[in-house]
């Protein structure tokens, strides 16, 4: 990419980095500045609601994944195993507890504040409950539950929505007590308006991958581009971020370029990335000219690309719907069908499932999904296994063999059919 032609390349990554760094700064100084801190999970997070009370938000999963990227997760996991955590339980939990035992210095080197509110947004992962039960014990802070019913049918049940709304109303009282600030409906309306605007822009970026070549990798780049929509949603800088990021994408579309020199295979990727070996994993696929045109991981916290938006005219109900429909809360048949739809909408050549041991919520059933993709819909599907946090499970030689064999055979098929 020559300098004169391209003005916005790298903006998405760089600006995101700045915003996250500023966010870590704010976390570190929160208590000194008299601000209260809420811990919560990314999937179905109720950032809008908590921002009404000016909580600083901490997402232990984001800390865990950042430790993975910075390659500190291995040691932290061992620290947790030293105090009794099994080698077979979630690496994110162990990473987080290991970090707490080591003095709670976050991945960016900032000190992490203790929680004033430990909000267990139980949204499609049962391990979340165990995780926050442990934090509740270690920090001696009561756990506050926001129970999100798993989708049992294909649509949202009115009773489920009402249950979430009722809990949000009860939660308002808890937040008022902790922060001393009153629940302000108008403020919530304003925040959800910001969110909806950012969501529109984010969806434009996601949909841009329908272009050929795709200007955007919906997995390996999306993990950076999605950070603001999950961590900073509702804040004006989040919306500003997506305006800037869209410029980068638009510029790529205008010049017909994408994240890799030559797009040879378009794939849909299912499952979280192997954070400690993120680059290595990307390289294994890049080598074959693979571009992820859609992924489920970029919907892990919320799923907008088929129409959902936070609704300023109905904020609580829309927050409930957001929680109920994030990817982790979709039932397995819905997940399977969504991936199939992605393959069709984005004209993908294959589905790649990265199955991680840590996260049974994601991984149990993925082998069955593969059977269905192949048998019912004739979509070539590759299933590979490693982990999202634990570097011990990433066997590069084995993964390379599987990936090479898969794309070799796709290439061969193409030649035969040509």
């Amino acid at each position: 990419m020559s300098e004169d032609k391209f003005k916005f390349q790298g903006v998405g990554r760089e600006y995101q980095k700045q915003l996250l760094n500023a966010w870590y700064e704010r976390q570190q100084s929160a208590h000194d500045d008299g601000r209260k801190v809420a811990y919560l999970f990314v999937p179905g997070n109720i950032a809008e609601f908590l921002r009404v009370f000016d909580f600083e938000l901490v997402f232990p999963e984001i800390n865990a994944l950042q430790c993975g990227v910075r390659k500190t997760s291995g040691d932290l996991i061992l620290k947790a195993e030293d105090v009794g955590y099994s080698s077979d339980v979630c690496g994110y939990v162990k990473n987080d507890i290991g970090m707490m035992l080591a003095g709670n210095i976050g991945p960016s080197g900032h000190t992490l504040p203790k929680p004033d509110l430990l909000l267990c947004t139980y949204c499609g992962c049962t391990t979340f409950i165990k995780w926050f039960e442990a934090l509740s014990h270690y920090y001696n802070v009561p756990l506050v539950m926001l129970d999100i019913p798993y989708l049992r049918g294909e649509t949202i049940d009115d009773v489920d929505r009402q249950y979430v709304v009722d809990q949000l109303k009860e939660l308002a009282g808890v937040c008022e007590r902790i922060t001393g600030k009153k629940f302000d409906h108008d403020k919530l309306v304003e925040i959800t308006r910001n969110s909806a605007e950012a969501e529109d822009l984010w969806v434009q970026i996601l949909h841009s991958a329908k272009h050929k070549p795709s200007p955007f990798d919906s997995y390996f780049e999306a993990v950076f581009f999605m950070a603001p929509i999950y961590a900073l949603r509702g804040l004006p800088e989040c919306t500003q971020y997506y305006r800037e990021a869209m410029k980068e994408i638009q510029e790529r579309i205008d010049h017909g370029v994408g994240p890799i020199p030559e797009e040879k295979f378009r794939v849909v990727i299912e499952g979280p990335p192997p954070w400690p070996h993120f680059r290595a994993f990307w390289e294994l696929l890049k080598k074959w000219g693979v571009c992820a045109v859609a992924s489920s991981y970029s919907k892990v916290g919320g799923y907008w690309d088929h129409g959902f938006r936070h609704d300023p005219s109905n904020p609580l109900e829309s927050i409930a719907d957001y929680c109920l429909t994030c990817y982790t809360n979709l039932n397995l048949p819905m997940r399977t069908d969504l991936l199939r739809q992605y393959a069709e909408e984005y004209d993908a050549d294959a589905i790649v499932i990265h199955s991680v041991k840590s996260c049974r919520s994601f991984s149990v059933g993925q082998a069955d999904m593969r059977e269905q993709f192949i048998r019912k819909w004739d979509i070539p599907t590759l299933l590979i296994e490693s982990d999202l946090a634990d570097p011990r499970y990433f066997q590069v030689a084995q993964l390379r063999n599987r990936i090479d064999a898969f794309f070799e055979s796709l290439e061969h098929k193409r030649l035969v059919h040509a």
């Binding site: 105090v83 009794g84 955590y85 099994s86 077979d88 339980v89 979630c90 939990v93 267990c120 139980y122 992962c125 049962t126 391990t127 409950i129 165990k130 995780w131 039960e133 442990a134 509740s136 014990h137 756990l143 539950m145 926001l146 129970d147 019913p149 798993y150 049992r152 009773v159 489920d160 009402q162 249950y163 009722d166 809990q167 009860e170 039932n331 397995l332 048949p333 997940r335 399977t336 199955s355 041991k357 996260c359 049974r360 919520s361 991984s363 149990v364 059933g365 993925q366 082998a367 069955d368 059977e371 269905q372 296994e385």
Partner: protein
């Protein structure tokens, strides 16, 4: 039939992966429908009221090779999920018209999805139990969930269930839970009269037959057990913790006892005594079941504890049973048990209570190293506590 003969007879029944009691029931009730429930707990009262036979599905207990299920569920998943699916794929669950998977963990939840795609002829339900134990909205939410489940059973059996019928079923299950408690009282107060292995067989067979029949069986055996002439031994009194879902091999329970332990309480087959107190039978039975789940459930790793942390409840159990030590015995890969383990053992350490830890799998065949561990544990409790 002597009590010992009764045990051996039912041992063969629970070991038979072809569900002989279900086949027998179906031959007597040709139009009858059968519901299978995955552990840990499901409201069986609803099925009973609708005239459907509820049956516990606890995997294959190592009795079959995992062959077909390997292509559907990865190797880092607990045995019970894999062997249950294997039973299905080998047509051993064809007698079941419906299957329920409760919200105990992510594995059970996703298994419900795998089931839907592989067995479209069976009616599969996933039950979302409320995890917010203090919300004023939780009883109504869960009552509606129970109503939904009851509706699926009514359409299965073609029978509408009036509240009186459901109240009657609750009464029968309350009676069964009370009789089960009697067995546990015997285990706690006179453990030499009833081994955990025997208690297990008697309770497990109850998950395979109509509740009325099982209560009759309990009513018959309780006095028989009380009249046994067996001497008390110099054993240590232990609790077993972690066996609430996947069931350990029975040999493992026998080994623990042979090594010198009286298991005076445990969380095996927790379903059989899920509630600490009877479910009230007055007014709205669905609401009563809902309130009971929220406020009368025993503590378990598969349910958020609400205002009473689990470690506190474990200590109460240790104290009230006059226990010498705790055996943490969790199935391999069981996240709820393995994650809870750390907080529970920390509390025991704080209180100076001994514990031993090991894991099991359904297909485990050799128990000698566990025997040695338990023997050493027993010695350390006896001589150093």
């Amino acid at each position: 039939m002597s009590f010992e003969e009764t045990i051996e007879r039912y041992r063969t029944v629970i070991d038979d992966v072809a569900f002989p009691t279900v086949k027998e029931w179906k031959s007597k009730n040709p139009h009858g429908k059968v519901l299978g429930t995955f552990p840990v707990y499901s409201p069986h009262e609803l099925a009973h009221a609708a005239g459907v036979l509820p049956v516990g599905v606890y995997g294959a207990g190592g009795k079959i090779e995992i062959d077909h299920a390997d292509s559907r569920i990865q190797s880092f998943v607990c045995s019970i999920a894999r062997s249950t699916l294997e039973l299905g794929l080998r047509d051993l669950l064809n007698e079941f018209d419906a299957l329920w998977f409760p919200s105990i963990c992510d594995v059970a939840r996703n298994l419900s999805g795998v089931w839907q795609s592989n067995f479209p002829q069976q009616k599969v339900e996933y039950i979302h139990f409320p995890q917010n134990m203090t919300s004023a909205a939780a009883p109504h939410f869960y009552r509606t969930e129970l109503q939904r489940l009851l509706g699926t059973l009514e359409s299965l059996s073609g029978k509408r269930v009036p509240p009186e019928t459901l109240n009657n079923s609750i009464t029968l299950y309350n009676r069964n839970r009370e009789l089960t408690q009697q067995l546990y009282r015997i285990k706690s107060m006179t453990p030499w009269l009833l081994s955990t292995y025997e208690a297990y067989v008697i309770l497990r067979v109850g998950t395979l037959m109509p509740v009325e029949e099982h209560s009759q069986l309990l009513e018959r055996v309780v006095p028989e057990i009380q009249q046994r002439s067996r001497k008390s031994r110099d054993y240590v009194r232990v609790l077993i913790e972690g066996t609430f879902c996947e069931q350990p091999p029975l040999e493992l329970l026998q080994v623990v006892e042979e090594a010198g332990c009286y298991v005076v309480d445990d969380d095996l087959l927790l379903h059989t005594r899920w509630f600490e107190d009877p479910v009230p039978v007055n007014g709205d039975p669905l609401l009563s079941l809902a309130q009971s789940y929220l406020h009368r459930s025993r503590y378990s790793s598969v349910r958020h504890y609400g205002p009473k942390p689990r470690a506190e409840q474990l200590i109460n159990k240790v104290r009230s049973n006059n226990v010498d030590g705790v055996i943490f015995c969790a199935p391999k890969f069981c996240e709820p048990a393995l994650l809870d383990y750390v907080l529970l053992k920390n509390e025991l350490e704080k209180q100076g209570i001994s514990y031993l830890t090991f894991e099991y799998e359904e297909k485990m065949g050799v128990f000698e190293s566990i025997r040695t561990q338990v023997e050493t544990f027993v010695e350390s409790v006896m001589f150093f506590s």
